[in-house]
Structure formats: C-alpha cells, structure tokens
C-alpha cells in the first residue's frame, strides 16, 4: 500500500473524526491535510512497533486535540435558543430529548460532542464514529482501557445533561 492508498483508505474517516472533535468543516479539512502531511513526513520513521492504523489514528488524535486547544471550538450557544423547540415537533412527539436527537440528522448532537472536553470528544468519536473497541481507543489515546470507559461514561452523561438543558459547561 502506497501513500495514495493510505489517502484513499483513511481520508474520509480522518476527516469525519476531526469534524466530530473540532465541530466545523474548515478546521476538519485543515486538520486532515495536516495529518496527511505528517504521515507523509513520518512514514520513513514508522518502526512498525504498532499497527500502521494505530499510528495514523494517534497522529489524527494529536493533531485534532492540538488544534482544538489552540483554537477553541465555536460553541453552539445553548443560551441563544439553539435548542428552542420547534412547535411542529409537538405534533410528532412530546419528549424534548427525542425531538432534539431526531432533528437535523444529528448535526446538533455532533455540535455538542465537539464541545465536550478534548479526551471525551475523541473517545466518543472513536467509539461511535470509527466503531473502535476499548483497547484500540486506549492504544490511540495512550491511556489505560479503564480510562476509556470512564471517558465514554462521563461523555455520555455530560451530553445527556446538556440535552436536557442542565447547562453545566465542560
């Protein structure tokens, strides 16, 4: 597999991972480009001590989190009425959480994931978007598997509270 094949195989997944962690398309595109530049430069130093895919995802996580820490995500403002109930929803369902989760193809939920603390957002995206297991996520984020579970549990709980309107910021 050459560099072009790596692009073919990973580009869309890396872009989506970055999009979920960073929350906007522009940052996700720049992050994806940065990741592939690093893959290009670092391929010669890759020693095969881990799987190539783990190495690539580790670069992705590091680049995404570095960018996120430098340039904080433009938060979806909970106070600006982003979650204001659409009156039409009342005709369909009386549960505000379900209405929120069903709206706009999950884009609002995706925005909330990007607002999570860095490691929680990464773990949630790797678990749900990339469908990875505990040990894979642990290897990428370089944390114990037990910590992965903690990140997932905290992340879900934080999202649930945010959706319910318990406006405690991360």
């Amino acid at each position: 597999m050459d560099f072009d094949s790596i692009v073919e195989h990973f580009a869309e997944r890396i872009f989506n991972q970055a999009l979920r962690v960073l929350g906007n398309r522009e940052d996700a595109e720049e992050t994806t480009t940065d990741v592939f530049m690093r893959i290009h430069r670092g391929l010669g130093d890759f020693r095969g001590e881990s799987q190539l895919s783990t190495w690539i995802w580790r670069i992705t996580a590091n680049v995404s989190l570095t960018r996120k820490s430098r340039k904080r995500v433009q938060m979806v403002s909970l106070d600006a009425g982003e979650f204001r109930d659409d009156p039409r929803d009342d005709e369909l369902n009386s549960n505000p959480e379900e209405r929120f989760l069903a709206r706009e193809g999950g884009e609002e939920l995706a925005g909330l994931i990007a607002e999570l603390p860095d490691q929680e957002a990464s773990a949630i995206a790797l678990f749900y978007l990339q469908e990875m297991k505990y040990d894979e996520i642990a290897a990428i984020l370089q944390i114990p598997p037990g910590t992965v579970a903690t990140l997932l549990h905290r992340g879900r709980e934080r999202l649930r509270k945010r959706i319910r309107g318990e406006r405690k910021r991360p």
Partner: protein, 147 residues
C-alpha cells in the same frame, strides 16, 4: 440493585454495543424506579442517536489536495549519509587515478604517502558501496501489511 449500580451497569451495557433488551437486573430496577427508568431511556436514545451520526464526505478539493502531497518512496526508506560519501568518492576517484600508476612503481617516501591518500580515497569509495555493512546505513521496508 441501587441506583448508582444501575447507572454503571447501564453504561457498561451500552459500551458492549449489544443489540438486545436490557438485562433482567436493569429492567427490574427500572420498573421500580421512575428516575432510573427516565435516565435509562434517555441514555439509550442518546446512544442510538450517536450510532446514527452521519458520515460527512470530504470535499473533492480536499481529496485532490491530499493526493497532491508529494508521494514519498513509501516502501523504501534510506537512512544515513551514503549519498554524501558516494558524491565524495566520485570526486576523489578522478584525482586519484594519476597516482594509481605511480603506486605500482613506488621508490620514494613521497610516493608512499600518496599511496596512503589513495588508499584512503578508495576506502571511502568501498565504504559507500558497502555502506550497509560499514556505516549501519540500511534500507528498511515499511510494512503496511499490518494495516
């Protein structure tokens, strides 16, 4: 089962990505605890929504720019200073050629020194040819088989 145990067990159940109804212990507690029932319903709704999160296609421009990143020789990576030595040897060799003939008719100390210089140059040349052995320069294939 206590409420805290319920919440922990429910999270572990979600982590397992099992496509089945709640385990009996969870169901039993939820049926007798409205708060945990609500918690469980909302967590499962959230879990399912995250499983359905849409995948977004990267733009054609992004894909094009990624493919324009100069492709390295991904399967063969050279490390070390072999090229520099080889270049040096190429410069030295023509200069050393006049001495090769003299080296066969050594009569003076000066010629012995010249022969030593020649020997040094030739050694550098041989080392550049046999660089994997002398300098630890090596070629390494990057295994992509583990992908």
């Amino acid at each position: 089962m206590k409420c805290e145990e319920f919440k922990e067990s429910l999270q572990n159940f979600l982590d397992a990505r099992e496509e089945r109804d709640w385990p009996n212990g969870l169901s039993a507690h939820a049926s007798s605890c409205p708060q945990c029932r609500t918690f469980g319903d909302s967590m499962i709704a959230l879990h399912q929504a995250m499983q359905r999160l849409p995948r977004v296609s990267p733009s054609a421009e992004l894909m094009g720019s990624l493919k324009k990143i100069k492709q390295p020789d991904a399967s063969l990576v050279k490390i070390g200073w072999g090229p520099e030595i080889r270049r040096g040897a190429q410069l030295l060799l023509p200069l050393a050629l006049p001495y090769i003939a003299q080296a066969f008719s050594l009569t003076t100390t000066q010629h012995v020194l010249e022969a030593l210089i020649l020997l040094l140059g030739m050694t550098v040349f041989v080392m550049s040819v046999l660089k994997p052995l002398f300098l630890g320069v090596h070629e390494r294939r990057v295994s992509l088989e583990k992908l």
